[in-house]
Symmetry: C2
Subunit: 266 residues, 2 copies
Amino acid sequence: MWAGTDKSNSDPRPHAAFGKQNFLKTRGFMALTNTNVGARENHLLRALPQGDYERLAPNLHLVSFSLGQVLYESGEAMHSVYFPTTSHISLLYTMIDGSTAEMGLVGKEGVVGIALFMGGETTPNRAMVQGGGGAYRMDAKAMLHEFNRGGDFQHLLLRYTQSLMTQISQTAVCNRLHSVEQRLCRWLLMTHDLAQSDELEMTHEFISNMLGVRREGVSVAAQRLQAAGLITYVRGHIQILNRKELLARVCECYQVVRSELDRLLG
Amino acid sequence: MWAGTDKSNSDPRPHAAFGKQNFLKTRGFMALTNTNVGARENHLLRALPQGDYERLAPNLHLVSFSLGQVLYESGEAMHSVYFPTTSHISLLYTMIDGSTAEMGLVGKEGVVGIALFMGGETTPNRAMVQGGGGAYRMDAKAMLHEFNRGGDFQHLLLRYTQSLMTQISQTAVCNRLHSVEQRLCRWLLMTHDLAQSDELEMTHEFISNMLGVRREGVSVAAQRLQAAGLITYVRGHIQILNRKELLARVCECYQVVRSELDRLLG
DNA sequence: GGTCGTCTGTGCGCTGGTGCACAAATAGAA
DNA sequence: TTCTATTTGTGCACCAGCGCACAGACGACC
């Protein structure tokens, strides 16, 4: 499906360097083809009228992201936007002391690089690949040209941006009011929605960086879920066994974000 | 300064009903005048080129907001945007169980009602007046017409939206990682930036609803700040005595949001 | 098969925040 | 002035999550 071989870091472990000291900075990606079959796996591109899509298509370039790859560094100028298809990307915030937390998660229903059309050029976030796979890259110039036509493309991107704001807001509230276990459920469900299988490739350590909690905290929460038969895991492989029950345990935040996404782009 | 007399609720206390059961739902506002002297106290309107501004001016109507007034209810259709001048407005999220938390704070540097031009029509947030004062109202239709011209007006609104996203993101992280005292400092500083004086009118109870913590938690944090001579307060009146020292105690979040706002709109 | 690095499990003590209960102080109204 | 409702202060017991330390389990590689 996706070429997972493009690791410009020599370390074979995807998020090994995700600690507080040194982060992965791999950026290479492979242009696989320019016949854009499949670009419409991305929901935003799919929702475009045929005419608009055909105008854009020549500017869409299929790329492949590998786990742990960093698309944008915080505060760094961006040059493209990405429309994920099978990949998904975390928007992360890193504090001065190195602790991190995830603000949002972008997959096939969205686009990475919002700051480009919002006019800010950069954001104080890092965008990091959390699930390897494909995406369509579009050059900033071409994107802006189409955006400034003011048609459906603009409307879709703005509506998506609003849904992302909802996601971030909900994260803010969720961080404040809900337990690690609830937040873990939410995070597993969101990731599961974007993944192509029931098998998720990530360590407790990695998840703890997303949720902004201790690794041990994730471990004990995960144990409870495993004991209850909702998931099972070993060394970086998590399998979702009972999605229904996860939905029963998760806080309202998951549903709020989903419904708002459906309302805005469904 | 501002007509604080328009209380359609009979209770003389501004946020008396802000508990978990019943919220203020006052919505009336007074159209004071239509000579738009002063509309440019709002930074977005000020930043507009003269020509654009003159085209808009007839659609700007000065209104006055009173403390506790609700501009939009969560999920409710909006019909106008508001450009605050001397007022400031909280964007609040309310959970199913009634607990609340503030996502963002909008004042003279911004606009309330982003969902209208983002295309979502509603948001899952409530917008509530946190500091009484003036604002300029603009009808949705007129606003959209100008927005869709795609010129400076659009660019300014989108850049502001991005800065608001930063604010919300930062709130998410801050909620996760920082103490009540730090968050109280941040909140006091942000509010102070928007207020016209060193005197802030709000109870600990009110602040606790903004920060999403217990009232007692706010009280003890406020005591420490008072003991250190940074603020002084009695029954709903807080006075900022030493802003400099507050800046020394606040977490990085305050500066991040400020700098990003300056970068995007400064 | 043995080694080594990584991942997960477990057990401390500690701290910040919670929920509750009630006392004290204050402003505003009668 | 007195009364009353609101606001703030204080003291619990309690719990989730933290930081630290170390043990055990697993997998990849020699």
